[in-house]
Amino acid sequence: MKKEQYSISKDNFEQCLKCTVCTVYCPVSSVNPLYPGPKQAGPDGERLRLKDKAFFDETLKMCLNCKRCEVACPSGVKIGDIIQRARMNYGPKKVKFRDMMLANTDFVGTMANLVAPVVNFTLGMKPVKMVMDKVMAIDHRRTFPKYSGIKFETWYKRNAAAAQGQYKNQVSYFHGCYVNYNFPKLGQDLVKVMNALGYGVNLLDKEKCCGVALMSNGLTAQAAKHAEQNMTAIRKSGMPVLTTSSTCTFTMRDEYPHLLNVDNADIRDNITLATRFIYRLIEDGKARIAFRKDYKARIAYQTACHMEKMGWKIYSISMLKMIPGVELVELDSTCCGIGGTYGFKKENYETSQKIGAPLFKQIEDSGVDFVATDCETCKWQIEMSTSKTVQNPISVLADAIDIEETIKLNK
């Protein structure tokens, strides 16, 4: 857009007309009056901070980085980026032990998986939760995601790696921490579906956590190192890189260049959600799917915040709608309140649950069998706060697909 030529900031903050539209869609300021809201915390505050960093306001840490303000802004101002950058530049440099533990998802995941049964058991115990609450300020009401005991990477090497070479087409897979440490089944589902479509699935060379939790917990330099390593691995792969997490995808495509100044322009387009990749394969006639005749489900789709920001829900929804037995209910797009590690923190628990309340009600009222979403932290939040289970659209597809027939169609 030509107007941007006249901007001096990369966040477009001069384009803010003070119109207040962003404040209508901020999930935090709607439930927590102490948060100054996106307009005040973003472009309004930035005018002052540019003069003197003493204007930095501690309450900016209440922003959960959902970016819904940016989706709503009619003037293209990157409000969320302005707030995140202010936190990085002016926020406290000393990071709490708790935040370090929550942020280092891959280190903590590796350690926890070594003794997964013990960790799962103790994290579920009330006295342990109380100690974590008191000592670390991780809210005792929060349910922790379980550790799987066997990493996805390990499963892949033992059970899948050898067979991938036989397929005529090849993709890479950025599985992310959640699939690796907590829920390898999603990765297994992706391998199953892609193999049936005639695609071999490869892992990246030394994938690191995307870094989203490091960024939101003030560990910017460490996040930038992860970003560099991931971009190197993706460049080396030379293949389309599929993902199953909307937040990992958004972080690698947009937060790396915007917030970490890691240039990804040459490979950004290669990083894509698996639902998008599959939908486009089918629509372009490059692959075909046979579905099980007996698959029936009424599913509610929850648009995760970063999915809304990327504008890609149309792909996940269209892919799910391809399944003949699926009746899809599109929930009103709204934040579930978890915001990654945000809702785990004691000081945010109330806000987190209040933000999610309208979504939980929609889900309970929807009469669906389960919820589908592209975000793992939405899954934790919804499973903890409603009576429904949550599946990634790729797992839904893996259940609905007739593997034998699909393999034949794509031979």
Binding site: M1, T20, V21, T23, S30, P33, V71
Partner: protein, 411 residues
């Protein structure tokens, strides 16, 4: 991705057009770059309020005196009358309830207490006509809410010969909102009322409203539906009416939400927070368009509608030496010499306010003087009228939106 029609712009005109087409079974997508001008809605839709600065009493009778470039003149007086007759029922279907008619304007009360002629006003608003003569009015603000200038409004009502007492209500949860004055906004209050429950609000109103015929409240009820205000009406003894506030406008956000949901319930697709970055015009037709978020995905449709708004919404853009349509570079009825854009007297009609996209008699756009056979334009992006000065913006948006939908479905 293939659609029958892709509409660029998700404001009033885009949604009106999309709804009309979707009702006829057309597969439509709306690409919406941020939220629209309805968030600054006055509470009334204007058809035609002024000609050359003089008030219009009957908009329908005044249509014939408009210049031939005016969007109404392009449609034709009889057609404008027919469509405007149908608009109340059209809005009612989406859940938007209004009063008024096209034979005679009534007055709306502006957020600063002035009166302006208008066509349709939402049911809940007080209108500045004689129906409240002799009534005892109480203007009841929410304590600490600054976006309703109480004294201005009371003075405005007094100038109409009405007497009006002023008071305020206070509820602990709303008091808590005052801790952050900048976020004591209409929509946040509306969301807080959802959690407080409308019964307690009604109790607070009843405790002040004894002995009054009408209680006037700021329009802070029901940002996403009609229920909140409808329930309130049943619980409060005097008649309850609301007064327009400064932005964000709760009734406008509600209208946007209701129209979007209705469009989606008819099978319409909305791409939120996305912008059209280009397309291919060949053989006098627009062949496809691209969006920022969907990247190389081509959106292919038989017809396209430009509903991108005026300067504010970036449908028309200005640079130091040109005024242009930023997506396709369509013909704009601008003046070559910058001096002719302005009138030096600020409050005089400004020529640039009449600038917009040029269209042929069938609302098809032009590029370099040649008609683009399947790209239409509607709403505020159209040139030929100063829609703010003449008070015609809502009418032009709704009526051109519906008219073009009819032209498209006749193809």
């Amino acid at each position: 991705m293939k659609f029958d029609t892709v509409i660029i712009g998700g404001g009033l005109s885009g949604l009106a057009c999309g709804i009309s087409l979707a009702e006829k079974g057309k597969k439509c997508a709306v690409v919406s770059s941020g939220q629209g001008a309805l968030h600054f809605f006055s509470g009334s839709f204007d058809l035609l309020g002024y000609i050359d600065g003089s008030e219009v009493e009957s908009p329908i009778q005044a249509l014939s005196s408009l210049n031939k470039e005016h969007p109404y003149s392009l449609i034709g007086v009889d057609e404008v009358e027919r469509i405007s007759n149908e608009i109340p029922a059209f809005l009612n279907k989406t859940g938007v309830k209004i009063t008024g008619g096209n034979a005679k304007n009534h007055y709306r009360l502006t957020p600063i207490g002035n009166k302006r002629p208008t066509w349709l006003t939402i049911d809940e608003y007080i209108t500045a006509d004689d129906s409240f003569n002799g009534k005892k009015l109480l203007l009841l603000n929410v304590a600490g809410y600054l976006d309703m200038p109480v004294k201005f409004i009371a003075t405005g009502l007094e100038q109409q010969g009405l007497s009006c007492d002023v008071d305020e209500i206070s509820i602990p949860e709303l008091e808590k909102r005052r801790e952050n004055a900048s976020e004591m906004r209409s929509v946040n209050i509306s969301k807080t009322i959802e959690t407080i429950g409308i019964n307690r609000i009604a109790d607070a109103i009843n405790s002040k409203g004894n002995g009054y015929d009408v209680v006037l409240l700021p329009a802070v009820f029901g940002w996403n539906g009609n229920e909140q205000f409808e329930t309130l009406k049943g619980l409060v003894k005097p008649m309850v009416k609301t007064v327009a506030t400064l932005p964000p406008a709760v009734p406008g956000v509600r209208i946007q939400t209701l129209m979007r949901k209705y469009f989606q319930s008819l099978g319409g697709t909305i791409l939120t927070g996305d912008i059209v970055v280009g397309g291919k015009i060949e053989n006098g037709k627009l062949q496809w368009i691209n969006t920022r978020n969907l990247e190389d995905e081509k959106l292919i449709a038989a017809t396209y509608v430009l509903a991108t708004g005026n300067f504010f919404s970036r449908g028309i853009a200005g640079a130091p030496n040109e005024i242009y349509e930023p997506i396709f570079g369509l013909d704009v009825n601008t003046k070559a010499c910058r001096d002719e854009w302005y009138d030096e007297r600020f409050f005089n009609p400004q020529p640039y306010m009449r600038f917009g996209v040029s269209v042929d008699n069938n609302f098809r756009t032009l590029k370099n003087g040649k008609t683009i056979e399947n790209l239409y334009a509607i709403g505020s992006v159209l040139g030929g009228a100063d829609q703010i000065k003449e008070a015609s913006m809502g009418g032009v948006s709704l009526i051109t939106g519906v008219h073009v939908a009819e032209l498209i479905s006749k193809r």
